[in-house]
Each structure stands twice: as structure tokens, then as C-alpha cells.
């Protein structure tokens, strides 16, 4: 496929701008570039075809099964898109007077109330633009809390070894030292190791529950109690909220603040780099530190922006990714009080159904009832046949399936992590299970076929090592 630069022909550009109706401003010569930028010049139809071709070579939820663990690639209902496309939500400006965007403020306010109910928190800020951004914001709240008490020795954040890589990264970004605690044989937090790790320097704990193994930690109340008794706070990474929404609340598990990935749990197309939304919720005692602006409802029914008393400030421009919030509000209100727990229940049922179909043929890393996702280990298969988790993942592409998450969590060797989500039908799950079993059979009988996979995709194996070591980041003009 040709690049835009290769399609470019001099003079074929589009002159779509209307004639200038304001006086031209003459910049100083030293501010102007010497040569014009070499932008591609392409007709609209060729440009359209270029992007359509690119789109045809990708695989999204609308193309087929997408069991990417820890990413909740559920189908995004159309009605969410319709609501987010309404003029009243799109044809506005962030500096508009708040009296003229009352509906938008109401969206933020209502979504906050619903998220409070779902997470068991008391207040929410919608500023963070995605999950890791929410983690960072939550950690800044924890830091502000300890500082406000003049408790300045609390510099360590405890993270289990099964955590998302973003957890230790966010903690380091927020200026903390990261302490890793090991998992126990059941895949949960090792309580003795946690007790040994906490102390006067503990700022807090970051935890995903269910964790990245797809397991709900049965010791969750004991875990959060140990941290609280040591004087630390508990942060809930909401990446896996889809497994428990409407059924269990982080606020009831002993967490003090959370982030929620609206784009995963409450539907927005993602996986292409955004936009996301990672609102942060907290208990009342942290509310005064939340980023500003937040929205309140006055006695006269009007909605207004306000800044919390000891706000950590802004973590992003304006109000966060507002249209993702519109989609989340639509999703939650359409599903309602019955639909939300039904969705999480079906997500868990689907994962267990698929796991049981594969069990006995594939090795499940933790042989127990899972939540919304589960992890396979292909270590034995690799020893016996030379076929790795990577080979299996690449072969799945030939069958029109997006591969599961690979080589994560790090504590499971040759890991494949599957999250089917609640939006897949039994027929799709049966089909996917059969594909997995067929690929396993191939691995045993014709391993070389898997080493060379995929065979039927637009490209086979990109040179990932070459791309990482010698990235080509711009077009090389002759």
C-alpha cells in the first residue's frame, strides 16, 4: 500500500478554504520558514480511498471477536454514538458561558451521581483523560492528603507483582517509591508480605480487583485494613470494574479513591489511542483535593462549575473528554439498575464458559472460577512443540480473531489472557473455542505453520525488534 507522500502530485492539493475576508497580518521575516512544508498534495477521493483501505486492513470489535484481556473490548452500542453526536454536545466551546451549556453540565453532574453509586465513592472529577492519567491523579490526591496532615515521611506506594504496568509507572511519576509485593499461590496478594511491607513510610496501596489474573481477591477487606492500619490509603484501579459493576463496590471493599475507565467499562470505541476518560472518584475526606473544575447543582436548579477548597489544580485542560462522558451516561441509563449487574454477570459467565471449553486442552494458569477474564499458560506447549504464545496469537489472526493479551501478567510464563466480554453470543464463544482448539492441534502436528503465521493477513510478522531498535519516524524524501 502506498503512503500519502507517495500518492502526492504537485498541484493536486485541495483549495477548500474560502477567500480570506480579514486583513492579512505580516509576520516578521525571522518568524517565517524559508521553504514551504512538504505536505502531501492529494485529491479528496484519493485521500478517502487511502483511509478506507487502511480501515479495511484493521480489525476492530465491529469486524469480529476481540478477546483482549484487561482491555474490555466490548461492543459499543449505537445509541451512545447517536447521543454523543447531538449538536448540543458537539457544537459548543469550552469557554462558553455556563448558562448556555446547562445540559452539558447536567450530563457531568448526573454521571458523577451514577459513578458514585456504582463505585461507592462520594465525589468524582472528570478531568483525567484515560486510565493511567486517573491513576496519577488519584496518587496526587493521596499525596495531598498526607501533606495536608504534615505526614511527610509517607513516600512509598505498594503495588502487587500482578499489577498493570501503569501502576508502578504512575506511582513513580507522582514522586513515590514503588514497593512490589508478591502474589500467593492462589494469585491474590500475599498477606504476610503485605504486612511486612507496610509501615510509617506507606503512602498507599494500588490494587486491581479482580486482578490481572481475572481473580477476585477473597482477602480484599483484610488487605485494605492492613494498609489503613499502617496509615496508608487504598487506591482502586478500575480497569476490571466490568467484572463487578452493579454487584460489588470498591468503596465497600475499603478503597479511598478509584479511577474508572469510562471508555472500557461504559463503552466508547477505544484501542486506537483514544479519546478515553479516566474519572477519579474518592471518599468525602479527599473531596476537597479533587482537580477543578467540578460541577454542582445550585438550589435554584442551575448547574455551576466550582473549584474544590484545596484542589490539586488541573490535570488537563478544561473538563476532560466530555463526549466520552456523554456515552457513559447513555450506556448507564440505557442499561439501568437491572442491566448494569446483568452485564457484569454475563461478562463473568462468558469468561467461565470459554475457560471451561479450553480447560483440559490448554493449561489454565489458576484453576478456579474466574471473573471476567482468565489466563492460559502455554509454557508446556512451548517446551513440547516449540510453539510459543506469540505463535498461537499470530495464528489466531488467520481465523479473523484478534489475539488475546500476550505475555501478561508477567508472573505467568507464555501467558495468553482472554476477556470475551458480555457482548459476545454463545455461538461466537463456541466458534472461538473451536478455533483455539484447532490451533492447538496444529501446534502439535505442524508447528512450522504457526512459526510462520499469520498466512492470510495483509502483512505477516512486522519486524517488532527492528521497529523498536531503529524506528523510522518520518518520511524520507529523496
Amino acid at each position: 500500500m502506498k503512503l500519502l507522500f507517495e500518492l502526492s502530485r504537485p498541484g493536486r492539493g485541495q483549495e477548500l478554504l474560502p477567500a480570506c475576508d480579514v486583513p492579512e497580518f505580516a509576520f516578521d521575516a525571522d518568524l517565517l520558514r524559508q521553504t514551504p512544508p512538504r505536505l502531501p498534495e492529494i485529491s479528496e477521493v484519493d485521500l478517502e480511498r487511502h483511509y478506507t483501505q487502511l480501515a479495511k486492513r484493521t480489525h476492530g470489535v465491529n469486524d469480529g471477536f476481540y478477546p483482549l484481556g484487561s482491555c474490555t473490548m466490548k461492543y459499543n452500542p449505537h445509541i451512545d454514538e447517536e447521543m454523543a453526536a447531538l449538536d448540543g454536545f458537539t457544537r459548543i466551546h469550552p469557554l462558553q458561558d455556563e448558562a448556555s451549556v446547562q445540559g452539558c453540565l447536567e450530563v457531568i453532574y448526573c454521571t458523577e451521581q451514577l459513578l458514585n453509586e456504582i463505585t461507592g465513592m462520594d465525589a468524582v472529577s472528570f478531568q483525567p483523560a484515560a486510565g493511567a492519567h486517573g491513576e496519577y491523579t488519584g496518587l496526587m490526591l493521596i499525596r495531598a492528603y498526607h501533606q495536608s496532615r504534615n505526614d511527610l515521611k509517607r513516600c512509598k506506594i505498594i503495588v502487587p507483582d500482578s499489577a498493570h504496568g501503569t501502576n508502578p509507572a504512575s506511582a513513580a511519576m507522582a514522586g513515590f517509591t514503588v514497593v512490589s509485593v508478591p502474589s500467593n499461590a492462589e494469585g491474590g496478594v500475599d498477606l504476610d508480605a503485605l504486612r511486612a511491607a507496610v509501615g510509617e513510610d506507606t503512602a498507599g496501596l494500588m490494587l486491581t480487583n479482580p486482578n490481572t489474573l481475572g481473580l477476585f481477591d477473597p482477602n480484599i477487606l483484610e488487605i485494605t485494613r492492613i494498609v489503613h492500619e499502617a496509615g496508608g490509603l487504598n487506591y482502586y484501579d478500575g480497569a476490571n470494574l466490568n467484572a463487578v459493576m452493579g454487584r460489588a463496590r470498591p468503596g465497600d471493599m475499603g478503597f479511598d479513591c478509584v479511577h474508572v475507565n469510562l471508555h472500557k467499562t461504559f463503552s466508547t470505541p477505544h484501542g486506537g489511542g483514544g479519546p478515553g476518560s479516566g474519572p477519579v472518584g474518592c471518599k468525602a475526606f479527599l473531596e476537597k483535593f479533587l482537580p477543578e473544575p467540578r460541577v454542582k447543582r445550585e438550589e435554584d436548579g442551575a448547574y455551576r462549575f466550582f473549584s474544590p477548597e484545596n484542589s490539586i489544580g488541573k490535570v488537563r485542560s478544561f473538563y476532560g473528554n466530555f463526549l466520552v462522558v456523554v456515552r457513559a451516561l447513555t450506556y448507564i441509563t440505557v442499561l439501568g439498575k437491572e442491566g448494569i449487574p446483568e452485564a457484569s454477570g454475563t461478562a463473568v459467565l462468558n469468561a467461565n464458559y470459554l475457560m471451561h471449553k479450553l480447560q483440559g486442552q490448554y493449561d489454565v494458569a489458576y484453576d478456579t472460577t474466574c471473573m471476567h477474564e482468565f489466563v492460559l499458560t502455554l509454557e508446556k506447549l512451548k517446551q513440547q512443540t516449540g510453539v510459543s504464545a506469540l505463535d498461537v496469537a499470530k495464528r489466531l489472526l488467520d481465523f479473523g480473531m484478534h489475539p488475546p493479551t500476550m505475555y501478561f501478567p508477567l508472573i505467568v510464563h507464555e501467558a495468553l489472557m482472554l476477556e470475551p466480554t458480555e457482548t459476545e453470543s454463545r455461538e461466537t464463544l463456541d466458534w472461538a473455542a473451536q478455533v483455539f482448539l484447532d490451533v492447538l492441534e496444529e501446534a502439535k502436528t505442524q508447528p512450522e505453520k504457526l512459526h510462520g503465521a499469520p498466512h492470510d493477513c495483509p502483512i505477516s510478522r512486522p519486524d517488532e525488534v527492528g521497529a523498536a531498535r531503529n524506528p523510522v519516524l518520518r518520511y524520507a524524501f529523496e
Binding site: G165, Q383, M406, Y407, F408, L410, E464, V465, A468, R469
Partner: protein, 127 residues
């Protein structure tokens, strides 16, 4: 089975250690680089930085994952193998030649294994 030179000492976290001109030379074992796969980046400390036995002093990134490298000794970094910054593939090609750092050790060594004990550990991890 990965190559495990008998003259080196090893950690349970797959670093190797040898003494040279009064300095402790630290690298990654072949077992470690084989498990990581093709290494594409390594983050190394600066000369003069202090390292602590059992604590991370560097991170290596492969196509699969980013992993910490732990120091077998405490002390001050005397020399850093800067060459690895531009050519991390040397770690895959020659793990026992591509040392990471040389440390002026000030005691506090982690429990070290000899080649036989390390080989047993690797065999156990592979099983």
C-alpha cells in the same frame, strides 16, 4: 540448557557477578536474556550512582516486556557499559561479554550461587 560459565557467581534473579581489578562486574545471564527475547532498550544508571544489594539498578525492555535488573552488591557505580545504549542486541549475542556496570562494592552482598547451584535453579524454573 543455557550456557553457565563456572567461574562466575549468580543471583536468583538471573544476574551474574565477577571480580575484576577490585571491582564487581555485573551482567545478565543467558537464561535471563533468552527468557526476555530480543532486547530493544536498556536503561542504565550513571557513574557515581549508588546501588543497593537486592534493589533494581537498571531496566531492560524486550519486545515482550520491561524487566528490572537487580544488583547483587551494594556500592558505587564506577563504570557503565555505555555501548549497550546504542546496541542493546549485544546482550542477546554475548550475555557474558556484555557487562552492564562495574561497582566499587561496599559489602552487603546478596546471597550468591555458584554455577552448579544456579544451573539447578534454572532447571527448576524451566520445569
Amino acid at each position: 540448557m543455557a550456557n553457565i560459565p563456572s567461574e562466575l557467581k549468580y543471583t536468583k534473579s538471573h544476574e551474574w557477578l565477577k571480580q575484576e581489578d577490585g571491582l564487581s562486574v555485573i551482567g545478565l545471564t543467558q537464561f535471563a536474556v533468552d527468557a526476555l527475547g530480543d532486547i530493544v532498550f536498556i536503561g542504565l544508571p550513571e557513574e557515581g550512582d549508588s546501588v543497593t544489594a537486592g534493589a533494581s539498578f537498571a531496566d531492560v525492555e524486550s519486545v515482550k516486556a520491561v524487566s528490572d535488573v537487580f544488583s547483587p552488591v551494594s556500592g558505587r557505580v564506577a563504570e557503565v557499559n555505555r555501548e549497550l545504549g546504542d546496541s542493546p542486541e549485544k546482550l542477546n549475542q554475548d550475555p557474558y561479554g556484555a557487562w552492564l556496570i562495574k561497582v566499587e562494592a561496599e559489602g552487603g552482598a546478596e546471597e550468591l550461587l555458584d554455577a552448579a547451584a544456579y544451573e539447578a535453579l534454572c532447571a527448576q524454573e524451566e520445569a
